[in-house]
Symmetry: C2
Subunit: 233 residues, 2 copies
């Protein structure tokens, strides 16, 4: 595996993350994500295309190639292992780890990362609950669903949180929700889409729509797959 510049790595990572949600990634999306200009994105896309890391036709958006995906998973592995290290060993709080890991992830010494992985006990998820790719680039795909889509009266475990800010951390700590918490929805309020939640034997409490949309859970019961109509055409 070749080496890439910090800048190239940031583009690859951004595209990987943007790809998760939708189909092909657009110039503007990447520019917004990386706080750079669309023209700079175009320049870099040409470079990454030449290096065969992505598929790209002018004006058509881009998709990582399989090689590009491998590279992205390597970067994400490094990022998440460092996040785990920072939280677990150095006692950083949840909201602080991301920024530091942004720098550490670009140190791309394979032996370093594999030994770090071993030192940490081969953790499966980072402090936000996101899965850590293994040394071969394999990543766990879990059955996470957004809490706002969990059916009522269905016990589930909190498995990740998609916002990493100190503000959400403050709220989650106040409500004593953390990764692994078991909860279920008792009731949904139509007015503001807030949810009444039950955790263990504690009294029920409500959480806002915004919060419910950032929490992801794994159901403890098999869920009936709700069809979302046609998949991507």
């Amino acid at each position: 595996m070749l080496n890439f510049s910090t800048s190239e790595e940031n583009y690859i990572k951004a595209i990987f993350h943007l790809q998760q949600d939708v189909g092909p990634v657009t110039t503007n999306e990447v520019a917004h994500e990386l706080k750079t200009r669309p023209a700079s994105v175009t320049d870099m896309m040409k470079k990454l295309k030449i290096k065969k890391l992505l598929h790209y036709q002018p004006y058509q958006g881009f998709r990582l190639s399989s090689e590009g995906t491998k590279v992205a998973l390597g970067i994400i592995r490094r990022h998440r292992l460092w996040e785990f290290f920072l939280a677990e060993k150095l006692k950083f709080t949840w909201d602080e780890v991301h920024e530091v890991a942004e720098d550490l992830e670009h140190v791309s010494n394979k032996k370093l990362i594999d030994k770090l992985d071993e030192f940490l006990g081969f953790p499966r998820v980072d402090p936000h609950g996101d899965p850590i790719p293994d040394m071969h680039g394999k990543i766990e795909i879990s059955n996470k669903i957004c809490l706002s889509k969990l059916p009522n009266h269905t016990p589930a475990l909190v498995s990740s949180v998609s916002d990493h800010s100190s503000e959400i951390l403050e709220l989650l700590e106040h409500k004593k929700i953390s990764l692994g918490s078991k909860l279920e929805i008792k009731r949904r309020f139509e007015f503001d889409n807030s949810l009444e939640i039950r955790m263990g034997r504690q009294p029920a409490f409500t959480i806002s729509q915004q919060l419910a949309e950032t929490i992801f859970v794994t159901s403890l019961l098999p869920l009936i797959q709700i069809s979302e109509g046609k998949r991507n055409k």
Copy 2:
């Protein structure tokens, strides 16, 4: 404290190390140390002079300013803490740590480094026996002397080794010499400047001039200061 580019940091660090030995540092010395061209060094020196990190007059060589020294000590602190981490926690061997630390040292998040320091138990020296500056930039100055200058029959502790290669590691392991080993010189041979060494109750053995010159020791007895004539004029 401002931030500096990886390249600027490498120049600052090189000058700091080269300064240790002699007086002002020359363009060629830095170029050689950093495997770059003299013209590149001159360019960077102008930049660092403007940033007040060093004193420099064309053709006169350079010296770090007190600000530049502070920056250098920060880089060295990061480098040596990471080396300690790699050796102690990730079980890297002695000769492997330097290269990886060369990359990690440029991640300059103060909180990261101070928490790493704490996690490691505030180590005083890195795996080669070189002192680690503390969070205020204070560095221990020890009374190390080169083993080749230790008087005969004077017990001393091995306190650092100035070569970090796998070749010297192999030799030191074979002779069972490590940091903290107590030894004394029994006899010197004029022919090749080899030394007969005694470690504990083991049988004496000899070491070459080359090896003696890379090992530094702290005498367990106060040594008479040998005058070296005039200091720097």
